[in-house]
Symmetry: C2
Subunit: 155 residues, 2 copies
Amino acid sequence: MTKTAVLTVRRATEADLPAIVAMLADDPLGATRETPEDLTPYRTAFARIDGDPHQHLVVAERAGRTIGTLQLTLVPGLSRAGSTRAIIEAVRVHADGRGSGLGSELIRWAVERARELGADLVQLTSDATRTDAHRFYERLGFTPSHLGFKMTLRR
Amino acid sequence: MTKTAVLTVRRATEADLPAIVAMLADDPLGATRETPEDLTPYRTAFARIDGDPHQHLVVAERAGRTIGTLQLTLVPGLSRAGSTRAIIEAVRVHADGRGSGLGSELIRWAVERARELGADLVQLTSDATRTDAHRFYERLGFTPSHLGFKMTLRR
């Protein structure tokens, strides 16, 4: 397998859950937040995602291995003259694929898919501690114009 | 009309569009981005919002006047053990209602509604230039833990 092997991005199926959750958990922040030993809550969540036509959960494969994932959400809105936003969440690249340009390829795919789906803008938030990710998104053409606020209700 | 008049929050209808768009435009950033003189794109967007069960576009009324608006979006996801996020967008309070605690009341309503709808966390982004808004969201219990990145595809 070389770094130039073709990347395939496709819709995730329930069979991809173990690989996706393993990637979510293999991350400094995810390690404390995910439960890869119990997939039950992920199966419930997958059914919700899969049943919503505005959710696009995908996996990236290279040489037959699942090596990346992200979720694209289309949100219609009134502001900015009725703009539709595409929100990118839960971006992960397998440890074996980092530094190979795979992350850039995956985000560029997501931006192109957002455009095809009719989005007027693409947005995402990145934890303030992920400074490498911030440089990465700026290099890809994103502007760090906003502050992202969160409030946990449960868990 | 006093500041203690009861606030009613209800689902927006197409008849609310002129009042909502006027509030979106009456804002330092919105002034350059909205077209209140032509409601056509907003009517198209409203149909998309109204037809999506995960979108909750509301208006706040006090003493019979439309005095606030926001959009709540429910996004199912895999990360954080299958958490569902509620995203708050397009928050506006009419100039006549600012400084009266109406904004706080509206955001508290949205957080409560998000909880009822099954959300595990609530998130929003605020333009980096809106420093008053940042203090406002922190006072309401939100943590400014993220950077928000955007990329415009059109307009």
